[in-house]
Symmetry: C2
Subunit: 355 residues, 2 copies
């Protein structure tokens, strides 16, 4: 969707320094610079760290075999850092990653003006002829991809993030910018209507608590975003997606992002519990592996977070934890019309209203 | 490398129409428009089609289990077409693709001027004030990726291609442009020195027949090109690579490309014969699968032919036949220092002179 131009411009102008491993997570990644515990930054960080803990605990319990998330904590010389948690080769989950990051940076003045929607030529110098300096920014988010082993248990992705640009250092009175982005989407290899309806219903409930326009708008945005153009098919069966959102009350959007993040477990765990022990054969598994290949294609070719991360030198292992443990590419594979595999593909080509 | 700017500009300005399946290959994909059997176009097409036949026959023989290449022929409404041949799930080869294509197109006049090295502002109109029209171009190539099953048998990639831009339709006297590109490179999961030295020696012999500067230059170009920037490692152990080559006699370069293409079998088949039955265990196989994951990362994120093909709507199945049948991504996998896996990784990080 074209709406995320602001977020993209911020991203495109930033190169991130190399990270340093840390032995344990700090109480907060925030600096002590006036953004106190009541600030949106602080409350967003607290929310994503709480959700990371809750999601990981619930997944370990659903996995059931004693497999545990392994934690990597890192920091950046410029400030901020992150916590990557990965569970690999569990009983239920082949690979599950749940990452949070809180990073600071500085964007060039041109990018800042672009983010504010000013044309570069108008903003090149202030009225007093003074050239503005670099603009500090802040970005925090939780990002997760969960790949189960069972071909009837769907892959889940969710990501919620908050951006701020500060006032330019030499113009303390200038306006600050902020926006929210995120979404939750489901990628099954087989359509089990009960599961897909349940998933979309939970997304709709979360949206409807805030604005009746949210669900139809963010459902379509999701279908548009997770589009594998060269295949003319979507990665999966969608969910919700939004970016660059700031034209509502900031408190309301913070509560909305929180509600969405808190909806991940009620949307997903009942599906996992129903499908984690469903019997399957080698053909089911091969089809799942082919769909995982499509997941890789989307993430490496189109996903903004991934392609941006690879280009700017983000922590590679955290970025690519979204890739499945294994994937498959078979030449010219076309499912036979009317089969379950064909039905899934059809729904990826023509997105449906599930509820 | 920065030298391929001309080829890139041509590619970036072209969107390819959808292909039509054909029942069998035509004697030639060339048009009957004055490019007779003695033209470079015709001789290049004849060469790549002969090499396709020879390589497929030799691979079927090496595979030994009776598996055969499956052929797909396609054409484009605008002229030209291609022949894709794929052998999948053989005894020795997991997936082997050998494609030829011969396509025509039209590039906008700006791209043509850029290709000729003229600045757009100077070339916008000829001296007589006449605006030049679109410029016809021609591109032919053979492209192949061979993925064996055995972790001790390396993956091979080769690609040889020839481009021409015709005179603009309304300026028949204007100069035509042509250039050659290509290369052959080896991607093992384990270093077997005898094999790597043999492979590079054959490349050097082919180069040395034409110009003593070719091998050092094209070996380095290959190491630079197959670079996975976000990993700071190469895809494999290199070979030769060149692009945008036209500053030599055209006959000489046609002969050079032919020599390189004819060196594929002597470079590769002896290695396959030596390694196709080497015993291996699950750990060898898992490491091979991780390296295949890197292959996917390079091809989807950096490879120009792939990313261009995906963006312009080329035949997806032909483009992505380069991806392995299966691949693997394991979180934060680091081979132990001194192991065979570590040695391979070291050689991908610091390219060596093997001969």
């Amino acid at each position: 969707p074209r709406r995320s131009s602001r977020a993209l411009r911020v991203r495109a102008s930033v190169a991130i320094e190399k990270e340093t491993p840390e032995s344990e997570p700090p109480p907060t990644f925030l600096r002590e610079d006036g953004h106190g515990s009541g600030s949106v930054r602080a409350r967003f960080e607290a929310m994503i760290r709480r959700v990371q803990g809750e999601v990981c605990a619930a997944l370990e319990e659903a996995d059931g075999g004693g497999a545990r998330f392994v934690e990597d904590v890192w920091s950046r010389p410029g400030g901020g850092g992150g916590i990557s948690r990965v569970l690999q080769d569990g009983r239920v989950f082949e690979k599950a990653g749940v990452n949070v990051s809180v990073v600071y940076g500085v964007m060039p003045p041109d990018a800042y003006r672009a983010a504010k929607g000013e044309a570069a030529k108008n903003g090149a110098a202030a009225a007093d002829g003074h050239k503005p300096g670099p603009v500090p920014f802040f970005a925090a988010g939780i990002s997760s991809v969960l790949h189960p082993k069972n071909p009837f248990a769907p892959t889940l992705h969710f990501n919620y993030r908050y951006f701020e640009t500060d006032a330019p250092k030499d113009a303390p009175g200038a306006p600050r910018q902020w926006w929210f982005g995120g979404g939750t989407d489901l990628t099954p290899s087989y359509i089990i209507e009960e599961d897909v309806k349940h998933f979309h219903s939970v997304q709709k409930q979360a949206c409807d608590k805030f604005d009746p326009s949210f669900h139809p708008r963010f459902k379509k945005w999701c279908d548009d975003y997770f589009y594998i153009k060269h295949r003319n098919e979507r990665r999966g069966l969608g969910g919700i997606f939004f970016d660059d959102l700031n034209d509502y009350d900031q408190e309301m959007l913070l509560n909305f992002a929180t509600e969405c993040a808190d909806s991940v477990l009620p949307a997903y765990i009942p599906i996992i519990e129903r499908r984690k022990n469903t019997p399957f054969n080698e053909e089911h598994r091969a089809w799942q592996q082919l769909r995982r290949g499509r997941y890789v294609e989307f993430n490496l070719v189109y996903d903004r977070g991934t392609t941006f991360g690879l280009k700017t030198g983000g922590r590679i292992e955290s970025i690519l934890v979204s890739l499945p443990l294994t994937a498959r590419w078979q030449y010219d594979h076309k499912p036979e019309e009317g089969t379950e595999e064909w039905k899934l593909l059809e729904a990826c080509i023509n997105p449906k209203d599930w509820i």
